[in-house]
Symmetry: C2
């Protein structure tokens, strides 16, 4: 089909939008692909819709090839199934909730696990019906606290979500692998590099979970990987557990005065000055234990203060402790929190036990105490004595204090060992482009999805959930394929196959350009033809560079000699080509 720019609904803008933080947002708005409607909510203009349709086509082809069937659920869903699964509460403020005219609670679905589960429960009853994978390409809603970076983190976004149903764990493994393979093919076709990392299943429940991250320094997610093939996002990294040390024979703990030690560094200086070790080794931050007070916001609305311990040379990683405490939210303790708990002596916090503060003044406050895996039994620490201006040294884990639970709390550092023994990790940033989950039986149990097995016995179905952010993928492709002049699409994703520019005022030039457009149309190519009569060549070239169709044909004075220019948007290379050869040259590029 030939689309003539003279009456097409596209207007390129000279100015960057004021709110654009990233290149994809800036260029997609400037080149007339999208327009902002509200924070994190965009309208799609014809050019944008074409690119989106091409991405969706690739995803559909690979889903169909993987044996998945397409369905479509409404965005507006009733509360009940999300209540049963727990997600009505767990999603917190990220969920758009509303009531209909009769007061019935509804929501804009962030994903549709519950609905798919109920659908299969409605229609299927036997193991012979399985395996089944069904998917949809659908507009989703998430009330992000900070929508940002244009399409990269929006509040409405298009997602492909697929769900698999199997009667056995082996079946789930196979369904999971089939989707995972399809994802690899999809991202390869989209030209998006990816790293598959171990992920935490988070609010979705379930067991095995992997993310497809596109590695990019501007990515929101941090992940670790080794040359040996280990990869995980920071939430999923598991600290290798060291063997316990013997407790017996260690010297008794010693409380000492420690005024003016507001930081770990000042505490270490004091130790080295006033409490040198027998063996002559210097004290280091890693010998100290940092106890951090956090506030948990539980689903029932209550607030609980807890203390989390990490080695003094590390920090508490909020993303990692959020996973440990999910579905409760976690935040730093406030001045009000400390005022309400005077037993927590700021700057001198030490371990806590079921009876109250370990050391320090007697306190019957019950504050739960959590320790990073590095606080191994038998290790001795310098830490706060839960009393003003006092620390303690030689406090031995498992002898002098014991945590209520061990949680992954400390930040990961480059060089930390991978849990699979594949060596030291490096730390990278990336953007999530896909996510594959083994949900297991969580939703099927909550909603009662069972089928009869070979022996006529009811078994609970096991499920997988698989998502790709279509609009995020589009934004990332734009992010990767642009230069200072504008967008620069890969051929399979571009809104058009060819952009023809007719320059000057000579009718013969426009006739030749229209002829080439018709010929390319006959070759089943989508053609954008810039036939605007009174626009200067400079403006036309600028628009072509901004819009970013990979192959550009320039018809100008050379038409008199039977020649046009073939302009490669990416390389910038321009080649004189006989008009008769344009179609075959373009075809050869594809």
């Amino acid at each position: 089909m030939v689309t003539r720019l003279s009456n097409y609904f596209v207007r390129t803008l000279r100015e960057d939008p004021a709110d654009a933080e990233v290149a994809s947002h800036r260029l997609l708005v400037r080149a007339g692909y999208i327009r902002r409607q509200a924070p994190g909510i965009f309208a799609w203009l014809p050019l944008g819709l074409r690119v989106k349709a091409r991405i969706e086509k690739i995803v559909r082809e690979e889903m169909d090839a993987a044996g998945a069937f397409e369905v479509h659920f409404p965005a507006l869903m009733p509360r009940e199934p999300y209540e049963v699964s727990g997600r009505w509460e767990e999603y917190g403020e990220n969920l758009f909730r509303l009531a209909d005219r009769k007061g019935a609670d509804m929501l804009l679905a962030p994903t549709h696990e519950e609905a798919f589960t109920l659908l299969v429960k409605d229609l299927y009853s036997s193991y012979k019906d399985l395996p089944l994978t069904i998917y949809q390409i659908q507009d989703k809603y998430r009330d992000e606290a900070r929508p940002r970076a244009g399409l990269l983190r929006g509040r409405e976004f298009t997602m492909k979500d697929a769900y698999s149903f199997d009667a056995s764990d082996e079946g789930l493994d196979a369904s999971y692998e089939r989707q995972r393979d399809a994802y690899e093919r999809i991202f390869t076709r989209l030209g998006l590099d990816y790293v598959i990392v171990k992920a935490d299943a988070g609010a979705m429940g379930g067991s095995k979970s992997e993310e497809f991250l596109h590695p990019t320094v501007v990515g929101e997610d941090t992940f670790v990987r080794t040359a040996g093939g280990y990869a995980a996002n920071v939430e999923a990294y598991e600290t290798p557990r060291a063997e316990p040390l013997p407790v017996d024979g260690q010297p008794a703990a010693l409380v000492f005065d420690s005024p003016n030690t507001p930081t770990i560094a000042t505490l270490v200086d004091l130790l080295n000055a006033e409490h040198p070790r027998d063996d002559g080794r210097e004290w280091n931050a890693s010998d100290t234990l940092k106890n951090v007070v956090l506030a948990l916001k539980h689903l029932d609305g209550t607030r609980e203060l807890v203390v989390v311990a990490v080695p003094g040379d590390r920090d508490v990683d909020m993303k990692r402790v959020e996973v440990a405490f999910a579905p409760s939210d976690v935040e730093a303790a406030t001045d009000e929190d400390f005022a309400a708990h005077p037993a927590l002596v700021r700057g001198y916090i030490g371990p806590w036990s079921a009876e109250g503060a370990v050391l320090g003044e007697a306190s019957t406050s019950r504050i739960r105490y959590f320790a990073d895996p590095r606080i191994v039994e038998g290790t001795a620490w310098v830490t706060g004595a839960n009393a003003s201006e006092q620390h303690v040294l030689g406090l031995v884990a498992g002898r002098d204090f014991t945590a209520d639970a061990v949680i992954e709390a400390a930040n990961i550092e480059a060089g930390d060992p991978a849990p699979d023994g594949s060596g030291p990790v490096q730390i990278d940033r990336g953007t999530e482009i896909g996510h594959v989950f083994q949900l297991g039986r969580k939703y099927a149990e909550a909603l009662g999805l069972q089928v009869l097995d070979e022996n006529g016995k009811l078994v609970t179905v096991t499920m997988g959930s698989y998502g790709i952010g279509i609009t995020r993928a589009l934004a990332l492709i734009a992010e990767l394929n642009n230069d200072e002049k504008g967008l620069c699409w890969p051929a399979e994703i571009a809104p058009f196959d060819v952009h023809i520019v007719a320059t000057g005022k000579d009718a013969a030039v426009f006739d030749a350009a229209a002829g080439i457009a018709a010929e390319l149309e006959d070759a089943a190519l989508d053609v954008l033809y810039d036939d605007r009569p009174k626009v200067s060549p400079g403006v036309k070239f600028g628009d072509a560079e901004l819009i970013g169709v990979p192959a550009i044909v320039i018809a100008g004075r050379g038409v008199a000699d039977g020649l046009v220019e073939l302009w490669d948007r990416r390389s910038g290379e321009r080649t004189q080509v006989p008009i008769a050869e344009v179609a075959s040259r373009i075809a050869a590029r594809r």
Copy 2:
């Protein structure tokens, strides 16, 4: 493509869904096309999604051919533009409203006039940019008080909405005609009969407005038409205005006692018995004036009682007075209303003036009085005297009483004259399948959409709005194309082109069926192949009839002789055909 039923995601049901009121709902659920999620909200299964995609393809082709460009707006929109246009209030309870986590008011868009207006305002500045028509195919939301009839009146539905933008009235006329023509082509291709009726623009504002109604006795809309070509929905019918009669020389009004006249009929009997006319003509209901008390619910929340007059042989048509009083809502006055206004004497209500009740006891209540156009100046009426057990005769319009305004209030009856003089109207029912509006400058004025004209002067743009209910059209097509066995799709809309059924257990039969499927696939047909190994022919035939693909191929014992049966779903005709001829026979049917 060949889809094998043995692993396809479709389950036909033997039982009708309990809540199905109409055939389309019942059959689309039973045949596995849709599933209910909440009142008026459905999920689309693979079969349904295929039919929907085929309808959308036809709509897109005709929109593109009409020079319209596709865009896509989010369903979730901010309040502000709908506030400026007035629709935030006017839509009342039909609008799904919600607040985001920051408390910003948002809505699920019922249509997108405001957003399209702002988009064009953002991007366009000159008359040279116009005309422009842009459209979207999008899921819309309306919180219907009584969602019913499955997809025919849902709360979430897919709609094609288009908007035209012109600098002049002539331009709008041309854009409107182009969309109107496209609608005629679309409904013809969909096989949906339609009548184009004059419509009231209602809450959308604007001037010219027509509806495409599919005539069906189960339709929700009533319309009138004449053999002479007039057609209008009841809200838009305009009563031909009669000439005023001379007031002078008519006898004075006479109040008379009228106990026990609870109905117009008893009043007429009393008149004929006790007040015979001088000319000997019998009194009829049409000589009486019926005054009906209605309550208006204004947008500002206030409630106002008004009196509406119609001839005694007619009723007040609530749909027609709702148009007259829009955007206020209208309902019957309640016992509480009468109790609060003792000057309104139930059963004896007469006309009202600015000073209070005409006749009756002195009353300073200001009650607005509205009259149907049939209450022409100079006509004399028998009506209530605003006093208990008293009526009045010879009360002359324009002499003894005058309405605050004339409104279309009375019901229309078969035989009433058409306003265009094309003869008496008949009354029919239909379902709205499309709506074309000349919005005019309402939205452009409210939102400030102006362009420079030829003379460099700013002019306000004039707009049109054009809608087709995609999912409603699908349901209507199902409603029209079914029999007691199931659905029976027209070829262009069917989910598949051919449904192949292999019967028995003979591997040769299944091989032959698979061969035919492959051959039809090569001919670019979409094939559904029932290859289920252990399902009886009866069940397979029943499913084929229920699903309703128009061409069915049955492979059975005849395969040994090189024969299969071609089964026409609509006519039920079965023909023996050599296997080698199946493809050409099917192709010939299309």
